[in-house]
Each structure stands twice: as structure tokens, then as C-alpha cells.
């Protein structure tokens, strides 16, 4: 009889440890998701500021003609801009806009090694289009931000539930310990 009680206690203790570990894992993964969502919000806000800045920079430069001429005189910078514009076109796939589609086509069509005089003006046009698309990008990221906020609410609910579960679990565990100590006394 004594042996049975001892075994029961061992099994229940193992289970307690297992449950506690599971709960710890759940909270840990929720906390890391929350951290990522926080970072997404920070980066989205930074993107908004960066896009506004880019818009201002390009507009300050004047028109496409001026920008095209400057690019032609600075092929090194033009090459860097083309590389970045092509990457942006890739990232813009998600926005499914006509403007973005034509932007992707333009950057694929421009091959830096074979760029002719008139192509620099095209690159300038592409840059102006990126700036024009920045409104679309901002809007799309506003959407992401809102989705993240919703996730936040859901996630925080989950964390609160997990914590309540954890507290109940620990209270039960404490009750058992207290009962056991009482018995022993």
C-alpha cells in the first residue's frame, strides 16, 4: 500500500514537471512572437519616415530630365540605384498594383552593363515612379501595422490565459504541498 502511494506521488510529480515545462514553453514562444511584432511596428514606422524622406529628396532634385542627366554623369551611383530599384520592384510584388508591375518590368529591362544614354532618363523615371509608389507602400504597411495590432490583442489574451492557467496550476500544486505537510505534521 505504502509503495503504491509512493508511486502515485512520483507519477504526479513527473506530470507536474512536464505540465510546467509545457506552459513555460508556451509563454516563451508567445513572448518571442510579441517581441517580433514589436519590432515589426518599429520597422513599419521607420519605413514611413524613410519613404517620406525619399519622396522629399527626389522632388528636391527637380524633374526626371535633371535626375537623368545627373545619373548619366555618375554611372557608379546609377548602377547602385538600379540594383536597389530592382530589389524594391521584387518586394512590391505583394502590392499587386499596375504601377508596380510596370516598375518591375522596367528594372528588369534595364541592364546596367548595356545602358545607353537614354536609359539613364528611364532610370530617373523609375526612381520617380518608386517615389510615386511610396504612397502605396505606406498604405500597405499601415495594413500590416493594423494586423499586427490585432495579433497583439490576440496574443496578449493568450498570455493572460496562460498566466491564469499557470497561477491556478501553481496554486493547486501549493495546495497539495500544504495538505501533504499538514498530514506529515
Amino acid at each position: 500500500m505504502k509503495e503504491n502511494k509512493f508511486n502515485e506521488r512520483i507519477v504526479s510529480k513527473d506530470r507536474l514537471i512536464k505540465e510546467e515545462k509545457n506552459l513555460g514553453g508556451d509563454i516563451e514562444s508567445l513572448e518571442s512572437d510579441e517581441m517580433i511584432n514589436g519590432e515589426i511596428l518599429k520597422e513599419s514606422e521607420k519605413l514611413g519616415v524613410n519613404l517620406e524622406g525619399l519622396q522629399k529628396d527626389v522632388k528636391e532634385f527637380g524633374n526626371e530630365e535633371e535626375l537623368g542627366k545627373a545619373l548619366e554623369k555618375n554611372p557608379g551611383i546609377a548602377g547602385r540605384i538600379l540594383g536597389r530599384a530592382a530589389k524594391i520592384a521584387g518586394a512590391l510584388v505583394m502590392f499587386n498594383a499596375v504601377l508596380v508591375g510596370s516598375l518591375a518590368e522596367e528594372t528588369h529591362h534595364l541592364n546596367f552593363a548595356e545602358m545607353q544614354s537614354g536609359d539613364f532618363k528611364d532610370l530617373a523615371t523609375t526612381l520617380f515612379k518608386i517615389v510615386a509608389a511610396s504612397g502605396v507602400i505606406s498604405l500597405a504597411y499601415e495594413g500590416i501595422k493594423r494586423a499586427v495590432h490585432k495579433d497583439f490583442e490576440k496574443e496578449s489574451d493568450k498570455i493572460v490565459l496562460a498566466m491564469i492557467k499557470g497561477r491556478e496550476f501553481r496554486e493547486k500544486k501549493g495546495d497539495k504541498k500544504r495538505k501533504k505537510e499538514k498530514k506529515e505534521k
Binding site: 529628396d57 527626389v58 532634385f61 551611383i77 536597389r84 524594391i88 521584387g90 518586394a91 510584388v93
Partner: protein, 54 residues
């Protein structure tokens, strides 16, 4: 991140299948690109100023 990797994550985001980490990585990448573009334009402006003053 390569252009192809960016496109793949962009497509995943369009299909709402991107994980939070992928979203974060893409955002960081786009921010880095835009910051790079701003630096390029600043360099262009500086070079234009020099050539205008000559």
C-alpha cells in the same frame, strides 16, 4: 537578401503566408534599400553641386 529572396517573401506576404519573422526581415530589407537610395541621391546632389560650381 537577394532580389529573388525578396520576391519570394513578397509573394508569401501577398498570400498572407509569411511568418512574423519573414515580415520583419522584409521590412528591415526594404528600409535598408530606401536608406541606400537616399544616400545615393545625396551623393548625386553633392556631385551635381560640384559640377554646377565648376
Amino acid at each position: 537578401m537577394t532580389q529573388e529572396e525578396i520576391k519570394i517573401i513578397g509573394e508569401k506576404m501577398a498570400a498572407e503566408k509569411a511568418s512574423p519573422t519573414e515580415k520583419l526581415n522584409l521590412l528591415r530589407e526594404i528600409n535598408a534599400i530606401i536608406e541606400g537610395l537616399r544616400d545615393d541621391i545625396a551623393d548625386l546632389k553633392a556631385s551635381k553641386k560640384i559640377s554646377d560650381s565648376l
